[in-house]
Structures are given as C-alpha cells and as structure tokens.
Symmetry: C2
Subunit: 172 residues, 2 copies
C-alpha cells in the first residue's frame, strides 16, 4: 500500500488527499510555500527538515502536481519552488488545520500565531473557519491576509539565525 | 523531533496539528470515526491497516485527547472508540480535505464519494468548503449530512466482505 497505488484504489477523496499530504513534514512545507517561502535554504531553516528529507518531499510534491521548480540562478543552478493552482488551493486545508490547531492544540493563554485579517472588512476572521467573526460574512482563502504575531515572528527569526550560523560554521 | 516535543516548541498551530494527525493512516482512521465506525474490526476492514498499526494509531489518538475508549463487552473485554469534542471538531479539517481531494485528486468523470447535504436547505453543499452551493448560505460541520455514493458504498461493502472472509479463513 502507498502513494499512487492508493490514489486510484479508492473513491474516497480524504484517502486520496492523504496519499499526497498525509505526512507531517509535508504539511509544514506546504505552510511555508503558502506563506511565500520558496527557496531550499529558507525552507529548510523554517521547517527544521534535513536536506535529504526536504529534497524527497519537494520531489514528491512536484510529482503530485503541487508545485513547480523555476530556476532563479544559472551558476550555480538554483530553483525556487512555486505552488501550482492545485497547491495554492490546498490553503483551504491549511486554514482549517490552523483553526482547529489554534482551538484544540494550544493553552488558553497562548496567542494566535498568525492573525488572519479579512481584506474586505479589515478585522480578524477568527477561528470559526467559515464566517468572519468581524463582519459575519463567509470568506474564502483569497480574502484573508496573514499577519505574523510577535512570538511567531521571533520564533521564525531565531530559526533563520540558527540556519545562518550553521552555514557559517560549515564554511570555516 | 517528534510528537509532543514539537507541540510546545512552536507557536504555529499547523505544526502542532501535524504532530497529532500528520499521518495518512490517522487521517483515514479519523474519517471512519467521524462516519460513526467505532469498533476495532470494522475500523481495520475500512482503513486496510494492520492490527499493529491500528492499535498504535488508536493509542496515540487517545493520548492526544482525540478519542476515548468505552467498553461494550465484558467477556471478552472489547472497546468502542468514541471521538471527544476535540476529535469531533476535527471534522472541519476532514471537510476541507474532502473538498480539496474531490476537486484536485480526481478525474472529471469520477463521482463524489459522499454527497454532503445541507440539513437546512436539503441540497448539496458542493465543494466550495464555506458556502452551500444550494442556498448560498455558510454552513458548519454540524449542518451537513453525508450520503455515501453507490460506488463508495460498494467499495466499503467489498472491504467488509473481504474482512469477513479473512476472519472465516483464520477460524478454519
């Protein structure tokens, strides 16, 4: 059992989706790509994956039509990883995961990691997942703008700094 | 890295959720529990997991507060697996995965596996994920009723029959 063999052996869309993204690292990589983090080094820094793991997951995501590679440097040849329409659309699953995780995987005193602002009303959409708590209207992924909290921004900056230091150490 | 160590090392709700359910088998087990399939044998039949895998995943889900075991037989002692409020709430993620999977992981000629009917208007909610395509109103998980398609019902019946035959063979 596994991968594409399961894709066609069941009509269930959850089983099919899980064959594409049923992996915790893939979810976090998709989070980063959706946030606009597109390069190998910065993806590695923010997802805390090993180079081998990240390479495997990116190859798999490319094979599954979730992303495409675009060269941004010729010498050395380097790529950016851009989401396809299929990959972009996965943001709806990340939104649902975010709402559930903020509600059920956190202590009450912890702050929301990313404030999701409703572009049309300017207020936070909250955690209901379907209707903006600010204006009461339903919203789509495209109508939401993320604003990283101070704590999450610090966590991300710490990871970047650790990755830079790591690269520095390997160079000397 | 892994499990609860990651839960508290990041403020990101997607990373935290993925520590609980970032596993394809767990997603399919959650699908079954959400559909009301609560016993070990029938869970195994529908998820195509090995007994060891299913036992591990159910223990993990119990430790993460997603389900609770309730004895339904004393001799032999047997349990049903019931979703907690946290586990029930995960249906919002399954709904998002379903909509994405039906849209992006299927061929155009394939039918929807489960028709999701809007209890308040009686029509199909469709695949937008937030607003009912039948009546244009936003809907929650609780306002949706699943109706398994003929193809998915047959697939499920085939799995049950295979499991029964398997059990029969082991007995003789």
């Amino acid at each position: 059992m596994g991968g594409w063999s399961e894709i066609t052996s069941t009509v269930c869309p959850i089983a099919r989706s899980s064959a594409v993204i049923g992996d915790r690292w893939t979810l976090v990589i998709m989070r980063e790509l959706t946030m606009g983090n597109r390069r190998f080094d910065t993806l590695q820094a923010q997802t805390l994956t090993s180079p081998q793991m990240l390479t495997n997951r990116l190859k798999r995501l490319e094979a599954d039509g979730m992303l495409e590679r675009r060269a941004y440097s010729e010498r050395p040849r380097r790529y950016e990883y851009h989401l396809t329409d299929k990959g972009e659309a996965f943001a709806s699953v990340l939104l649902a995961l975010r709402a559930w995780g903020e509600t059920w995987c956190k202590e009450p005193e912890e702050e929301v990691a990313v404030h999701h602002l409703h572009k049309t009303c300017g207020r936070e959409v909250g955690l209901s997942g379907t209707v903006c708590e600010g204006c009461g209207k339903p919203f789509t992924v495209h109508e939401v703008m993320g604003e990283v909290s101070v704590a999450f921004a610090r966590e991300r900056e710490d990871r970047s700094a650790a990755a830079r230091q790591d690269a520095e150490t390997r160079r000397t």
